[in-house]
Symmetry: C2
Subunit: 315 residues, 2 copies
């Protein structure tokens, strides 16, 4: 059955029937708006949109994977502020000839990814459109902590990473060359594995700045460098290329560091910490913050030569 045949309200009923409710949802789908707990008296809110053919391809990713990724991109932004996600809202634009099952599986993926963080889908909107589009808004609670912004990195801070880097980008390259393996890379492109809990943990550890790596490590760290007015210097040797990534890079004739430094969509978190901060084991120290007149990201104190990230208009 197509979404055009079910109609707007039929489709909404089918989708909402599949959504669970989280502990912070006081009033879920079905009214003019939802009501979500915000015990902190502040709410963290961000939005990210995925467009068919640009952020995902239906022949490369199943609907459930697109759902996971749409949710993850948004939930990662909340975690990168040091907050715990509480709720998602989903604005969905679908071609009338799309199968209802595709939308149902998308909803399953969004709901399942949200549940990893304790959040749930509390509302949304559905419209017909020639272009399949998934716009998600995520809300979160700071639980009394100060938000960790991009602007707080300070000379002397250590730069540390949690989560995977380069996997999704390598998977994208593999798929774009017509291959379907290595599975770990292709799966990483389809469905990121985001270290959500590390965001609030970093805030408690005293992180001075933090960002979600969605567009590429160098591009995103450049936002931190500019906002903080600092130079962020990374150590190339801190990044160990996994064997499967090295092998496929060699087979495809790609420099794997391009994936590490410029590849997006893994949603790792990078934060800066005052020197001497005891780092939990999942964090990898990858560099240091320096004072400098013009903000930049360098590798071993040299400018990086090559692509640095993703521009959604130019790519």
């Amino acid at each position: 059955m197509t979404v055009g045949a079910t109609g707007e309200f039929g489709l909404i009923a089918r989708v909402t029937a599949r959504l669970g409710s989280g502990p912070t949802c006081q009033l879920g789908p079905g009214d003019d708006a939802a009501v979500v707990s915000a015990l902190d008296t502040r709410v963290v809110a961000g939005t990210d949109v995925l467009v068919d053919g640009r952020h995902f391809r239906r022949d490369w990713s199943r609907a459930v994977d697109v759902g996971h990724r749409a949710a993850a991109a948004n939930l990662a932004d909340i975690a990168a502020m040091g907050a715990a996600p509480t709720a998602l809202l989903v604005a969905l634009c679908v071609p009338p000839d799309l199968a209802v099952s595709w939308v149902e599986e998308l909803a399953d993926g969004i709901a399942a990814e949200a549940a990893l963080t304790g959040a749930s889908v509390v509302g949304g909107d559905i419209s017909a459109s020639p272009t399949l589009t998934v716009a998600v808004t995520a809300l979160g609670d700071l639980c009394g902590r100060a938000p960790v912004q991009r602007s707080g990195a300070t000379a002397g801070d250590v730069v540390a990473l949690v989560g995977r880097l380069g996997y999704a980008s390598a998977g994208y390259t593999v798929l774009s060359r017509g291959f379907r393996s290595p599975k770990v890379l292709v799966d990483a492109y389809r469905r990121p594995r985001v270290p959500y809990a590390a965001g609030p943990d970093a805030a408690l550890l005293g992180a001075t700045s933090m960002i979600d790596i969605s567009d590429g490590l160098l591009a995103d760290l450049n936002h931190v460098a500019v906002a903080s007015g600092v130079i962020i210097d990374l150590r190339r040797e801190a990044f160990v290329i996994p064997d499967q990534m090295r092998d496929v890079a060699s087979a495809l004739g790609v420099d794997p560091y391009t994936w590490i430094f410029a590849g997006g969509d893994d949603h790792a978190l990078v934060a800066t910490f005052p020197p001497g901060t005891p780092m939990p084991p999942q964090w990898l120290v990858i560099g240091r913050v320096h004072a400098g007149d013009s903000p930049a990201v360098t590798i071993d104190q040299q400018p990086y030569v090559g692509p640095t990230g993703w521009d959604h208009f130019r790519a």
Copy 2:
């Protein structure tokens, strides 16, 4: 200049430079997510998406009008819960050949409409897409009040309306027949005039249910009837057709009550109140709630014959 030429980050910079900041915005655009005050310890959140060619036409509405309407549709949902809007987030999908000025004017319209309520645009996302799409999420604060849901209408309640009805729909009909006047109707289609403050006022007056009329009076009141398990009976003579609407209906051969009962997009608010509630003058009593075995909306105790509202897949 086109948005494709400015690139994603150039466009974001141009847009955010035009946005003001409201009193509830603690951290606005430019980080992974925004931080908004939620002093009530609950946040009201809703989302509504507008798709080019379906919810608006660029040859009928200027960008600033589309911005007003995109914001209004969302802010009205917050008001219909009895809450005061605090923030908007905007996910914008634009064709690369769209003029930057169009996006800037859209942003102006969204910001100006938000400012009417004290809210501001705190975040967003921009992507290229073949289909121009504006997905807005609105947040609001209940200020200690209980949310006014759709499910509380009770037999004996009076049904009252605040705001205009049928204007936007009449304007749409006028435009679709190739005319550009009467201006009051065409302008109403382009830019709704929403009685935002009446939402929290209704909550304070003890409203038992409330809804924003976005799809059509009968269609939307049917949601209230079903959620509350009641019959809502409207009095036809309560609705006075304005002269300009009556004249143009006559000229076009349209029954103007079709616009009143089935026309959407004016974002009037309809609420139910316990009998004897002293109604402020801007509220118009339009009917009464009755007990009944099968929920329904009737007019003078008869079923309505004709179109009842808008389905975004079927229309």
